[in-house]
């Protein structure tokens, strides 16, 4: 039926081009045989539907008028005999009649408390979909992935380094004074052979520079270890991502631009960054790098301790002593390095209140990411 009406309608859509408007109006009140039959059928069907006692009676009515061998298909076959000037009016009457009958059937079905037509294959559309539940990336990996992607777009390549590290790469080569507190066994894990668990990802800088001629441009995501008893903001280990770029004529403006780009990519264009002078043994000048608070937008809240800013990373221009230690001439080469904590980023990004959630691996937590 649907197909039929589509063509039927299309037929009339093209008709007006050849349609004599005047003639149409003149014949407005006159009814041809088909129109009369349709109107009569509609009235009869309405009357019968109104008194139909059950769904079976309704179905019989439907077949009588609208079924494949019913009245309407029969009438449509006679459409060809209608004079062209009457076709539009006839078509309209035909459609109206059909709609009236369908409406009468629907109303009767509603009265009888069920659909006019029972679908034997009806399904419950609200049951859960058949799917494979997706897996979830751990928030730390999620952040590491994002950071690596952002820096990769800026020409950094991701490298890896050992977690069991020697004192030279973790401290000495990074210009850390011999009596620097971070070397203390209270703060750093030692092995009997004198090696340590790296306390930062910075030794990867040294390993890369030792084996590569400048220019270099790397990021190194990874696990680092501090001798902290686990609590809401500390763990025996956490994750950092280290960045290093060495080339000719690199300045703090390059560093600032890379970090600003990073901030925008990670937290959106509204984030402002602030560089604050600081001190690290392996960079000079050294800065700390703050984001405008991603929670309050800089107005001040308990997350940023009302300062409007959140400390994100340490950074600076690679100290000339570090360059000398790896055999780079600081008169020719300069560069910057930065390091940021992924747990901190994850906690900010997802408002995770306690760092221990990240290592507890309760699936109700993991499935939120």
């Amino acid at each position: 039926m649907v197909t039929f009406f589509t063509t039927f309608k299309q037929f009339f859509v093209f008709l007006p081009e050849r349609f004599d408007l005047k003639a149409g109006f003149q014949r407005k009140n006159s009814m041809n045989e088909i129109i009369e039959a349709v109107n009569r059928a509609a009235e009869n069907a309405e009357a019968k539907a109104a008194v139909a006692a059950d769904a079976g009676a309704l179905e019989a009515l439907r077949i009588e008028y609208l079924g494949r061998n019913g009245l309407f298909p029969e009438l449509s076959k006679k459409m060809g005999t209608v004079p062209p000037e009457e076709r539009k009016a006839t078509g309209t009457a035909f459609n109206t009649g059909r709609t009236r009958i369908q409406a009468a059937l629907d109303a009767a079905a509603a009265r009888l408390g069920g659909a006019g037509k029972q679908d034997k294959d009806a399904i419950d559309l609200t049951l859960p979909g058949r799917r494979t539940a997706p897996g979830h990336r751990h928030p730390i990996t999620q952040l590491a992935d994002e950071c690596v992607s952002v820096f990769r777009r800026m020409g950094f390549v991701a490298v890896d380094g050992p977690e069991i590290e020697d004192i030279y790469h973790n401290f000495d080569a990074l210009n850390t004074p011999d009596d620097h507190p971070s070397r203390d066994p209270k703060d750093t894990f030692y092995f009997p052979d004198g090696r340590i668990l790296r306390s930062q990802t910075s030794p990867v800088q040294i390993r890369v520079m030792e084996t590569h001629e400048p220019p270099v441009r790397i990021v190194a995501p990874g696990r680092v270890f501090r001798r902290d008893t686990p609590d809401a903001t500390h763990g025996m280990n956490f994750h950092q991502i280290e960045g290093l770029s060495i080339d000719k004529g690199v300045s703090m403006a390059d560093l600032k631009s890379v970090l600003q780009t990073f901030a925008w990519e990670m937290f959106g264009k509204d984030v402002k960054i602030r560089l604050r002078p600081h001190f690290f043994p392996f960079t000079e000048p050294s800065v700390e790098y703050d984001f405008s608070c991603v929670v309050c937008g800089g107005k001040g809240c308990n997350v940023c301790k009302n300062s409007g800013y959140i400390e994100i990373a340490g950074a600076g221009m690679v100290d000339p002593n570090v360059l000398k230690n790896v055999g780079y001439d600081p008169e020719i080469w300069s560069g910057y390095a930065f390091g940021l904590g992924l747990e901190r980023l994850a906690m900010l990004r997802y408002r995770i209140p306690d760092l221990r959630f990240l290592y507890d691996n309760d699936v109700r937590f993991l499935e939120q990411f």
Binding site: P134, A253, R274, R276
Partner: protein
């Protein structure tokens, strides 16, 4: 370190509010951690004039006043006796919040006995200015109206600073004042120090036996002092930064330390045997009781200040109990000394004693300041405790350290910072920081850093000074530029990410565990023995001191925890480093992949589909999918040569890549799951990441043309002995090399009760035949099938059906 704004303004004029000052300090690298205003006057209290006073119609002691603050006229009901017209008084306007011991109270529009009152006029006590509560506070008649009282009575602000280890010079008011003067471009000035001349020499007053650890020691004697309470100004200064007043002489030593950064110590000279001091190493067996009562068994590595006989102070850290200044002291030996910073640091740390003095010494004090501080303390002691100087400076000093001389190229400074800061500005900044700048040319200058700035030795250090004073906000944003990585550099991270993506795609949740574990967790992976474990020397707790050799132990912990919390359907994985001491087994560090599943296979489904539990074929399927996705083709699954205690016997397979063991998967040995409140079996796969990635990268995929002619399928079903493995059937059929044979697929295995009794099972396979050049005829396929059936029956001992 804490500073007081009032105290700071003794040395440098502060024409700015706290917020501005603190922002300047933070942005210059002297980070403000906390700002604490100790003004008691709340915001919202202003000066106002009483225009009229009428008696309150409903009360004998209240008055109704009209008051103006210069901008609006308000009606205030007041109970004070002195609220006379014409007086200028403090007015707390609506909204002002008073912080009292009973809690906050806010001034609101209210009615007092039926008359409206729009604020409160205050007494001095109410504002915390004094205890006077007799009447309203009254200002002079010429006081301007509407002025905030916080401006008239600014109070003090205590500012907590984080001083980085390179800036010990900022561990004093004077040091901070020097930087502030540079930041605000106002001069800083030390108070004038005048001490009466004294030529008296006290021979042998000071001896230094270890000049390496004590490069400078100045002793002065002041006699006839009268110990007593400090004057108010001195108490106030100390209290403003949180120190308690003790007595006038001790307070002076503390005051000067905070003012100039030089720790001082005052000995009661009468308690010193021989009346003299010796800076020497302790002798074996010596002991000292410190001021805080702690007894220390001294060793020869300790540096002490002794009298002629015994240690009287732990040099640079704390004085002894018996040599301090007390009420009965009349003669003081004032110590101003320099100790080697690394020595004080290690000693303070090893003894667990940290003081304001040791904090400054371990970061390094100014060699030149020792004399200035000694004089300043003498001046103040004479001022607040009387007495007179009884010796000249008795000094033992090593050679004065050389001041670093730095060549400063202006262009290089600009190059490092990335700004266009001018030569003149660079010179100006360096000079304002009290550095000596000479030989200024168009390209460079020569900078001599004073001894209080030992952190400045190189051009880069000067660049930092210029950058932080000129302002890091001046550094421009520029397009990200530079050469990218070397063409042959490999991305170490990308393949790990790919692996993780694949496993996450199969519905597994990623876990991250600590890599430092207990021995039980480490050894539950039966591939390892204790001697394979890498042990820490200084674990946090004795039970938590091993690097995990595999990822299984911690993962089982997570499974147990989850099950205990009611999360029984688990699909978990971890990809991270594992550690092994035994190079015969594994490299020291390697990446391992552990995938684990237990509980319902598809808990997200409903009815029977949702209730089915995971089985062996699920974990096997995961491994197969992973291998396929990585395009690993050259792999084999074989039964383990000997039982592996990680797995249930007979329910595990070893993964061989290129003939080498690259992992294992199967059902977890039930003994691991004993304590769990779940009876569902656990399945896991453990794989070596480097083997997987190596195998993956070797494979080149090439496309095969699609067959043009239709395939013909034939089914075959038979009853086989229970022990006949599917793999054997498949291998056998393939080996038969039937003509035009293309593939074989298992479509049913059935073990009914009858068959079970006979130790048999029914197996059904579907075989596909195809020729790539033509359509096969039934006859030829049937012939091939007949031959195959005969071979199967004969050689595999199966009964064809």
């Amino acid at each position: 370190m804490d500073i007081s704004r009032k105290w700071l303004s003794d040395y440098v004029k502060l024409d700015c509010d706290d917020a501005f000052l603190c922002d300047k300090l933070t942005m210059a690298g002297i980070e403000v951690e906390k700002i604490e205003k100790n003004s008691t006057i709340p915001e919202g209290v202003v000066t106002a004039k009483i225009l009229s006073r009428e008696p309150h119609p409903g009360s004998d002691h209240l008055s109704v006043c009209k008051v103006t603050d210069g901008s609006e006229e308000l009606q205030i009901v007041c109970g004070a006796p002195n609220c006379d017209a014409g007086k200028i008084v403090p007015l707390a306007k609506i909204g002002t919040v008073f912080h009292t011991e009973e809690g906050d109270f806010k001034i609101k529009r209210s009615k007092l006995r039926g008359v409206e009152s729009c604020g409160m006029m205050c007494s001095e006590k109410e504002l915390g200015i004094s205890d006077d509560h007799e009447g309203l506070m009254i200002f002079p008649e010429d006081t301007a109206l509407g002025v905030a009282l916080t401006q008239l009575y600014p109070g003090d602000t205590r500012i907590e600073l984080e001083i980085t280890p390179n800036r010990p010079d900022c561990l004093s008011m004077w040091g901070v004042a020097r930087d502030v003067s540079c930041l605000l471009s106002t001069p800083a000035q030390l108070p004038e120090i005048t001490v009466p001349e004294c030529d008296i020499e006290v021979a042998g007053l000071v001896t230094v036996e270890n000049p390496e650890l004590c490069p400078r020691y100045i002793g002065r004697v002041i006699k006839d002092v009268k110990i007593g309470p400090s004057p108010d100004w001195l108490k106030e200064r100390l209290e403003s930064v949180g120190l308690r007043s003790i007595n006038n002489v001790v307070d002076v030593t503390n005051f000067v330390m905070l003012e100039l950064g030089q720790p001082l110590h005052a000995f009661d000279r009468a308690t010193l045997a021989g009346g003299r001091v010796v800076a020497r190493n302790a002798r074996a067996g010596e002991k000292i009781t410190l001021l805080d009562g702690k007894v220390i068994e001294l060793e020869p590595c300790h540096l002490v200040i002794a009298d002629a006989e015994k240690p009287m102070a732990l040099a640079g850290i704390m004085g002894g109990e018996n040599s301090g200044v007390t009420d009965s002291t009349t003669e003081v030996l004032l110590e101003s000394a320099v100790f080697k910073s690394s020595h004080i640091r290690s000693e303070s740390r090893s003894l667990g004693v940290s003081t304001d003095a040791s904090y400054r010494y371990e970061r390094g004090v100014d060699f030149d300041m020792a004399e200035t501080a000694s004089l300043r303390a003498c001046q103040l002691i004479l001022e607040v405790a009387g007495g007179k100087l009884a010796s000249k400076a008795m000094e033992v000093a090593a050679e004065r350290p050389a001041e670093p001389v730095i060549n400063c190229r202006f262009a290089r400074i600009r190059e490092l910072i990335g700004t266009t800061v001018s030569n003149e500005r660079i010179v100006d900044i360096l000079k304002k920081l009290h550095l000596k700048v000479e030989n200024i040319s168009a390209d460079s200058c020569v900078v001599t850093a004073p001894l209080f700035r030992l952190d400045l030795t190189r051009e880069a250090d000067l660049a930092e000074e210029v950058a932080r004073i000129d302002g890091l906000d001046k550094i421009p944003m520029i397009p990200v530029a530079g050469k990218v990585c070397h063409p042959d550099s490999e991305d170490a991270y990308a393949p790990l990410r790919t692996l993780r993506d694949l496993v996450i795609g199969m519905g597994f949740d990623e876990c991250v565990h600590y890599s430092i574990v207990g021995s039980a967790s480490a050894l539950c992976d039966s591939r390892f023995e204790k001697s394979d474990l890498i042990e820490l020397s200084n674990p946090l707790s004795p039970d938590n001191g091993w690097m995990r050799p595999g990822l299984l132990g911690e993962m089982l912990g997570t499974v147990g925890r989850n099950i205990a919390r009611g999360n029984r359907d688990l699909r978990l994985f971890e990809l991270d480093k594992a550690f092994c001491k035994n190079p015969a087994k594994f490299p020291e560090e390697r990446n391992e992949l552990l995938i684990l599943m237990t509980g319902r296979r598809h808990p997200e489904l409903f009815s029977a589909e949702g209730e089915a539990l995971c089985d062996f074929y699920d974990i096997k399927g995961v491994v197969e999918t992973l291998l396929e996705k990585l395009a690993v083709t050259n792999y084999r699954f074989v039964a383990p040569e000997k039982p592996d205690a990680r797995f249930r016997e007979g329910h595990a397979l070893v993964l061989l890549l290129e003939g080498k063991v690259a992992g294992m998967f199967g059902e977890l040995n039930g003994k691991h799951a004993n304590s769990w409140r779940s009876s569902a079996p656990v399945f896991f796969a453990q794989m070596e990441v480097s083997s997987l990635l190596d195998a993956a990268t070797h494979v080149k995929k090439s496309c095969k043309a699609l067959a043009q002619f239709p395939a013909t399928t034939r089914d075959i079903a038979f009853v086989a002995p229970e022990t006949l493995a599917h793999g054997e059937v498949i291998d056998f059929i393939r080996k038969c090399k039937a003509p035009n044979f293309e593939s074989v697929r298992l479509f049913d295995i059935f073990v009914g009760d009858d068959l079970k009794k006979q130790h048999k099972k029914s197996m059904a396979y579907s075989l596909t035949f195809r020729n790539r050049e033509r359509t096969l005829t039934d006859t030829e396929v049937n012939a091939a099938m007949d031959k195959l059936r005969a071979k199967l029956a004969a050689e595999l001992k199966v009964e064809l059906r």
